[in-house]
C-alpha cells in the first residue's frame, strides 16, 4: 500500500475503553481529492476513529500517518497544524462567544498582538455568505438555531482544513437547501484536492456525494470500496451484516377509524413563541409535524408538554379541562416527551443507563415508592432488550453510549411510564439505519396499541411512513393539516412553501 499517496491514513488502529474494544485493527486511508463516506451502525466506532485521526483520543494501538509519515497527534490543535479540520458529531462550538470568534478561534487575525476584530468580522461575513447566511458576526452564537450553529461549525472546519476535512454527521440538523449548499462546497474542496471524510446515516447523501465508502461494524473494518457499481442494498447489508427490508414510505392504510379524542388544544399558544393553534389528537393516531427548521415545531411541542407554559388557550384531556403548565402536570396525565437535543435536555450523562431509563417512572411514582435496584434492573433490562440498546452494561454511564443508543434509552424512559401520549421531537436524528427502522417500528407499534403520538421530523419520507395525519408549521404558526391522500411528500412541501394562500385541500 506504500505506493498509494494517502493524505491521511490510519493503520491497524485499536482503541479500547475499559474492557470495551471500540476499534479493532482498523485500517483507513484517505486519498486527496476524494469524498470518503464512513458508514456503520450506531456504536460502530465511527466517531471514535475520527477522534483518533484528529488527536482528540490517543489510540491504544496502531498508528496515524500524514502524507505517509507516522505522526503522533497530541491534541486537536496539533492536528490542525497538519491541515486537518473537523466537525465533530455533536455541535462542538462555544455558544457564549460571537459567531466570528467561533469561526476563527485559535487563529484570529491580529494587529500589534491584539485580535483585529474588525477584520475578523469582515472575514466572517465573507465566509458565511458562501453558505447563504447573512447574520451579524458579532452576535452570540448561542442566540442562533442549532442549524445555524452547525453551519458555522462546518464553515470553521472548512476554513481550517488545508488537506483533510472531516465531517461527522454534519447534515443531521440541516434542511435540504442547506445540505445542497454544503455539497457544493464539498465538491469545490474536492476539486481543490482536499480529502473529505463524510459520516452520515443518510444513504441518499452518501450516493450523492461520496466516491468511496468504508464500512465499520462493531469496531471492525468490514470493507472499503468505491461507490461505482455498489448499490444501496449492498451498503446496508454490509453495515448490518444481514439483509433487512427497510423501505421508505409504507403508507398507512386510509380510512382507519379514528379513536376517541384524547387531547383537544384550542387557541393554545404563547406570545412571541407560538401562534395560537387548534389541534385535536385521537387515541391510536400519529400526528406528524412538518416544517422548516426554526418554524417553531419544538416550541409547540414544549408548550404541549408544559416545558414552557402556554399563556393563552385551553386544553382538554379526555374531555376534561386541564391545566398543563409544568412537565409534572403533563406526566401525571400520561404524557411523555423526547426532546430534540439529547445531550442538553435528554440524557443524564453521569448516571447509568439503568437510572436514565427508570427516572421518569420513578418521578411519576414519587419519592417514597422507590424502585429497588432489582426492579430497576428488571425494567431497564426489559426495555434495553426490546429496544435493542447496545451497552456493555446497564450500569455504565449513559454518556459512554453512542448517540443512537442514548436515543433508544430515552424513548425507553417514556415507554416505562406507560404513557397515553408521546411527543417525539426528531426521534431519528443522527441514528443509523438499524436504529432508525427500530424507532419507526416502535412508533407504528405504539400507535397500534392505542397511544396518541405527535412526531416532529424533518424527514418527509419518514413522516409520511407513519403519520395518520400531518400538520405543517411555518413561521411559528400551524398553517395546514393534511390527511388521507394528502399525506405525501409533494403536498407537504407545497404546504410548507405556500405563502399566505390557504392550506391545500
Amino acid at each position: 500500500m506504500n505506493d498509494t499517496a494517502y493524505a491521511l491514513e490510519a493503520r491497524g488502529i485499536v482503541k479500547i475503553f475499559g474492557n470495551h474494544v471500540a476499534l479493532d485493527n482498523v485500517n483507513f486511508g484517505l486519498l486527496p481529492g476524494e469524498v470518503h463516506a464512513l458508514l456503520g451502525e450506531n456504536g460502530a466506532g465511527k466517531s471514535t476513529l475520527i477522534k483518533i485521526l484528529t488527536g482528540a483520543y490517543q489510540p491504544t494501538g496502531g498508528q496515524v500517518l500524514a502524507d505517509g509519515v507516522a505522526v503522533t497527534l497530541d491534541n486537536p490543535q496539533h492536528a490542525q497544524k497538519y491541515g486537518i479540520g473537523t466537525v465533530y458529531q455533536e455541535v462542538n462550538l462555544l455558544p457564549n462567544r460571537s459567531v466570528a470568534e467561533n469561526l476563527f478561534l485559535g487563529h484570529q487575525p491580529t494587529r500589534f498582538g491584539f485580535v483585529d476584530r474588525r477584520k475578523m468580522e469582515r472575514d466572517s461575513r465573507e465566509v458565511l455568505k458562501r453558505y447563504g447566511l447573512d447574520l451579524d458576526p458579532a452576535s452570540e452564537l448561542g442566540a442562533h438555531s442549532v442549524a445555524v450553529q452547525q453551519i458555522v461549525a462546518i464553515a470553521r472546519a472548512v476554513e481550517l482544513s488545508g488537506k483533510v476535512l472531516i465531517l461527522d454527521e454534519p447534515t443531521a440538523s440541516l434542511d435540504r437547501n442547506e445540505v445542497e449548499r454544503l455539497f457544493e462546497i464539498i465538491r469545490d474542496l474536492k476539486a481543490r484536492g482536499l480529502a473529505v471524510v463524510f459520516i452520515t446515516h443518510f444513504l441518499d447523501q452518501v450516493f450523492a456525494i461520496a466516491d468511496r465508502v468504508t464500512i465499520l461494524r462493531n469496531g471492525k473494518l468490514i470493507e472499503t470500496r468505491t461507490l461505482d457499481g455498489t448499490t444501496r442494498t449492498d451498503v446496508v447489508r454490509l453495515m448490518l451484516g444481514k439483509d433487512v427490508a427497510f423501505s421508505g414510505a409504507t403508507g398507512v392504510e386510509d380510512a382507519r377509524p379514528l379513536g376517541e379524542v384524547l387531547l383537544d388544544f384550542k387557541g393554545y399558544g404563547k406570545k412571541r413563541s407560538v401562534h395560537p393553534f387548534n389541534l385535536t389528537i385521537h387515541k391510536g393516531e400519529v400526528v406528524g409535524v412538518a416544517g422548516l427548521l426554526g418554524s417553531g415545531r419544538t416550541e409547540m411541542a414544549r408548550i404541549m408538554f408544559g416545558a414552557d407554559s402556554a399563556d393563552e388557550g385551553t386544553v382538554t384531556v379526555s374531555g376534561k379541562p386541564a391545566n398543563i403548565s409544568r412537565p409534572t402536570d403533563a406526566i401525571a396525565r400520561g404524557f411523555g416527551f423526547l426532546p430534540e437535543d439529547r445531550k442538553v435536555e435528554g440524557i443524564f450523562g453521569d448516571l447509568s443507563v439503568r437510572e436514565n431509563i427508570v427516572i421518569a417512572l420513578q418521578g411519576k411514582l414519587g419519592w417514597f415508592s422507590a424502585l429497588s435496584r432489582d426492579e430497576q434492573l428488571e425494567i431497564a433490562g426489559r426495555f434495553g432488550e426490546s429496544m435493542d440498546i447496545r451497552a456493555a452494561s446497564l450500569d455504565m454511564p449513559i454518556k459512554l453510549l453512542s448517540g443512537g443508543n442514548q436515543q433508544k434509552a430515552i424513548l425507553s424512559r417514556w415507554l416505562a411510564t406507560d404513557p397515553a401520549f408521546l411527543i417525539l421531537d426528531e426521534p431519528t436524528r443522527g441514528i443509523d439505519v438499524g436504529a432508525h427502522a427500530e424507532i419507526v417500528r416502535t412508533i407504528n407499534r405504539l400507535r397500534d396499541e392505542g397511544l396518541a403520538l405527535v412526531v416532529i421530523s424533518s424527514e418527509l419520507d419518514e413522516v409520511v411512513a407513519y403519520s395518520t395525519r400531518i400538520v405543517v408549521m411555518r413561521d411559528r404558526e400551524l398553517v395546514a393539516e393534511l390527511s388521507g391522500e394528502n399525506i405525501n411528500p409533494g403536498v407537504i412541501v407545497q404546504a410548507i412553501a405556500n405563502h399566505r394562500e390557504g392550506p391545500p385541500a
Binding site: 473537523t86 465533530y88 462542538n92 462555544l94 462567544r97 478561534l105 491584539f114 476584530r117 448561542g142 470553521r156
Partner: protein
C-alpha cells in the same frame, strides 16, 4: 444592545443610583477626597479582582489570593527590612514565586483533575502557612523607595489624593480588559469557561490556558500584595484574610457569571467600587454596631444580586430557564 452587555449596564446603573442616594444623605461623600480614597483604598482588592475575573471567566475559582497577598507582603518586608534587598528586587522575586505558585495550582487542576476550589483551598493554606513560617510578627518597611512611591500622589482641590497605587489599579484594569477582550489568550479563557470539551476540540490549548489563568491570578494577587505593602509599609502574615470572598463578590456583582464564559473586566471595576461605596457609606453613617454592619453588608449584597437578577433576568445569557 448585546445581550451579554446588559448585566454590566445594570451594575453601572445600580452603582450610579446608589452613589447618588448616598451623596443625597451625606453631601460630603461627593468630594475628590472620597473619590481618591475609593481608588487608593480599594487598589489591592481591584488588582486581585482582575485576576479573579479571569479565573471565573474560565470557569474556575481561586481561593488562594488573599493568602498570596499576605505571603507576598511578608516576603518582601523580610527581604527589604531584614535582608536589605532593594524593593524592586524583592518585588521581582515575589512575582516570580507567585507565578510558579499559580502555575503549579494550574497544573494540578488540569492534570490531577482536582476541582479548582479544592486545589486553591490547599494553596490558601499553604501560602498563609508559609507566611506565618517566615515570621509571626508584622514587619515594618522603612525604605526611601516606599516613601518616594507614597509621595507620587496627585493632589487635587477638595482634599483629593490620587495615589500611585490607585492609578496602578486603573492601569491594571485597562490592561486586563485589553487582554480579556482583545487577545487570543482572552478568547481562550472565555472558550474554556463556555465549554471546555468544545474548546479543546476547537484546538484551544486547554492545559496552557488553565495554567496561564491561575498564574495570572497569582501574579496579580502578588502585585496586590506589593500594593498592600506599599499601602501599609509593612508585611503581616494575617493581612488580607478573606479578600478572596470580597474579590469573588466584586466579580459577581460586576455581572460575571460564576459558571464562566460571560462577563467583563470593566464590570469587576464597578463591582469593586460598589463594595467600596457600601463600606464608605457604613463609615459615614457610623451608627451600626459590629453585627449590624455584617447584616447590612449581607443585605446589600443580596439586594444587588436580586436587583440584577430581577431587572435583567430575562436577558442574562447562558442560563436558560429550567
Amino acid at each position: 444592545m448585546s445581550r451579554s452587555l446588559r448585566p454590566l449596564v445594570a451594575t453601572a446603573v445600580i452603582f450610579a443610583i446608589a452613589y447618588a442616594l448616598a451623596v443625597f444623605q451625606f453631601p460630603n461623600m461627593f468630594s475628590t477626597r472620597v473619590l481618591g480614597n475609593f481608588l487608593t483604598d480599594n487598589a489591592f482588592l481591584g488588582i486581585t479582582a482582575v485576576g479573579m475575573t479571569f479565573v471565573i471567566l474560565s470557569g474556575g475559582i481561586d481561593l488562594s489570593v488573599g493568602a498570596v497577598i499576605g505571603f507576598t507582603g511578608v516576603l518582601i518586608a523580610v527581604l527589604i527590612s531584614l535582608a536589605g534587598w532593594h524593593p524592586l528586587a524583592a518585588f521581582a522575586l515575589a512575582l516570580a514565586i507567585a507565578a510558579a505558585f499559580g502555575g503549579i495550582m494550574g497544573l494540578a487542576i488540569h492534570y490531577l483533575q482536582v476541582p479548582a476550589f479544592i486545589v486553591t483551598l490547599a494553596g490558601m493554606f499553604l501560602a498563609r502557612g508559609g507566611a506565618s513560617v517566615i515570621t509571626r510578627d508584622s514587619i515594618p518597611v522603612n525604605h526611601e523607595f516606599y516613601t518616594w512611591i507614597s509621595e507620587l500622589t496627585i493632589r487635587v482641590p477638595g482634599g483629593g489624593r490620587f495615589s500611585f497605587i490607585g492609578l496602578l489599579m486603573i492601569a491594571i484594569f485597562i490592561i486586563g480588559a485589553l487582554v480579556a477582550h482583545r487577545t487570543k489568550f482572552g478568547s481562550y479563557v472565555y472558550a474554556l469557561g463556555g465549554n471546555e470539551t468544545s474548546a479543546s476540540l476547537m484546538g484551544v490549548p486547554v492545559a496552557r490556558t488553565t495554567v496561564g489563568v491561575y498564574m495570572l491570578s497569582s501574579v496579580l494577587a502578588a502585585l496586590a500584595g506589593i500594593v498592600f505593602s506599599l499601602y501599609t509599609s509593612a508585611g503581616y502574615p494575617l493581612a488580607a484574610v478573606g479578600v478572596e470572598l470580597d474579590a469573588i463578590s466584586a466579580v459577581v456583582i460586576g455581572g460575571t457569571l460564576l459558571t464562566g464564559g460571560y462577563g467583563f473586566v470593566l464590570g469587576t471595576f464597578i463591582g469593586v467600587m460598589l463594595l467600596g461605596l457600601v463600606q464608605t457609606y457604613i463609615i459615614f453613617d457610623g451608627t451600626l454596631s459590629s453585627w449590624w454592619t455584617k447584616i447590612v453588608i449581607g443585605g446589600l449584597l443580596f439586594l444587588f444580586i436580586v436587583l440584577q437578577r430581577l431587572i435583567f433576568a430575562a436577558s442574562t445569557p447562558g442560563e436558560k430557564s429550567h
